[in-house]
Symmetry: C2
Subunit: 331 residues, 2 copies
Amino acid sequence: MRDVAAAAGVSLKTVSRVVNNEPGVTGAVRERVQAAAERLDYRHNLAASNLRRSGSRTGVIGVLVQDVANSYSAGLLRALEDAMRVHDVMLVAGSLDETTARERAMVTNLISRRVDGLVIVPASPRQDYLEPEIRAGLPIIFADRAPRGIDTDSVIVDNALGAYQAVDHLLARGHRRIAVLTDSASIATADERVRGARAAFAKHGLELPGDLLVRGHADQQGAAATVHRLRELPDPPTAIFAGRNAISKGTLQALAERGERESVAVVGFDDFPMADLLQVTVIRQDVAKLGALVAARLLERIAGDTTPPIRIVLPPTLIPRGSGEIPPPAA
Amino acid sequence: MRDVAAAAGVSLKTVSRVVNNEPGVTGAVRERVQAAAERLDYRHNLAASNLRRSGSRTGVIGVLVQDVANSYSAGLLRALEDAMRVHDVMLVAGSLDETTARERAMVTNLISRRVDGLVIVPASPRQDYLEPEIRAGLPIIFADRAPRGIDTDSVIVDNALGAYQAVDHLLARGHRRIAVLTDSASIATADERVRGARAAFAKHGLELPGDLLVRGHADQQGAAATVHRLRELPDPPTAIFAGRNAISKGTLQALAERGERESVAVVGFDDFPMADLLQVTVIRQDVAKLGALVAARLLERIAGDTTPPIRIVLPPTLIPRGSGEIPPPAA
DNA sequence: TTGAAAGCGGTACCAT
DNA sequence: ATGGTACCGCTTTCAA
């Protein structure tokens, strides 16, 4: 910038004015500066610029999701991007893979980068470590999962309700041997889904069969293995509630391998690509809406809103597509 | 930082040493400084830090893809993230949606943020506007699509070969009325795929039926509409080569609606989630490998490598899953 | 309308 | 082992 000033024969400040499109510069001078900048391949340095600027914003927010390659996370990312773009805010994204350490590390990193805000789909059991940041006024919104140990804005999905809907849907069609497959019990969301499933059984005066509740599925392969095992039981499940994206896929894979796609009912939590073509009944969370709400709240916070934290809970929807409407085999 | 220094009763420089884990500080002093930093909720400012640092790196790279919500883009993003994480580099990601303007805007923005490097899946027809940056030594790697009007590192997929494989696969099974559906002709990749398709016909001494080559599909719905239209022709296609992810989906959707999933052959370019369960034959690009190669090259460049640009071309693979092996109806 | 000087949060260099 | 001071690239404040 100094070079540009010298080349244009003006002061530093004038160049700064031109670069930032500030008033107070004659047309002629402005053009001379722009020409010099062009000639010297000058590139404005935003970091330095923000350093001195008063209520400076970096124009970047941090977004920590489970896995950017997962369709749900990717959809959330995209919704956030679209909402933030109109405000000229970019996203730095990170995949947590359900690891607490990574969440902590990335949050620390993002904070040292002075992001304008944080969107977190938490992987850690508690987030009280964020207390100082909140107090310092850093806008943080939790998405998809509620924060623990701290009071912050959050936009989440009613997991228990979704699971309730799914299992109730199956019970209403006569199923009793319903398997419930979820991910690691350390993930709060999984617990809520189990709770919802139990509630559905309770409503019908029944209980979730203990041998059919299997937790701790890390990936598609694990879920597939479980389905194979359960279907070999003397009294196998006639329906399966898959508590997550990847688990649904593993379930379908296993059933396809066994040639049981048409005979075993399946309802999955989370919609996923091609689920419609595969005729899979799912509990859909409206990611676009979730993202939009998160972005809106974040923008308000960034704009200076200091009202008490808000919790928004979105109801999921059951989308019947066939797999969840398969009746139990005639007794 | 000044406050921390005051609180700990040491100089600024000493605090700096402690924060950066530099040697030359006694254990006692170090602890005193850390305690003060903790107490004051001190947060290191990376932007300011990098300002003075010599060969400073920001630890951020920009990644511009088509659409972060698209499984292919998301997979690339994830592969890059994994490779860069071990070097403590974060990703700021953006979706271009095939718009030239957005590409330019985001590149400009990222440069003013002084990213350490750029990974671009170009949406613009030419990228010579990047010439000054390249000259200035900014590492830029093109992924998936070759750069135009500029000589830079690139890791791309052999699109013509993939299309050739797909169409040859169908021709070998007796199909002659093969529809070729691609996206906008302004996208170089699409052209190459058409070229590959023509080459396959040529090999068999045939020509691609002009009425069955349909370009310009923007999304799944458009592709579905085209399939419906083509199948209503007096001499409809017996096989379809879908030139992209979304087009494959639209094709499957339309065929499913028509109850023709079992009778019309389909080969798609790009693998996609659940394609295996849907038994769709595809031309697979190894995104993980692509991402790993891109990351490796980028890291070399960031480390100071100034050798001439490298072009890597990955061969895609045909994955037969059923849909591409459907024979034409007996004449 | 334009410029000079101070300072943002930190690091480099050289003393002490 | 620690501190002083210049300085990174730019904006702010205030004077010209």
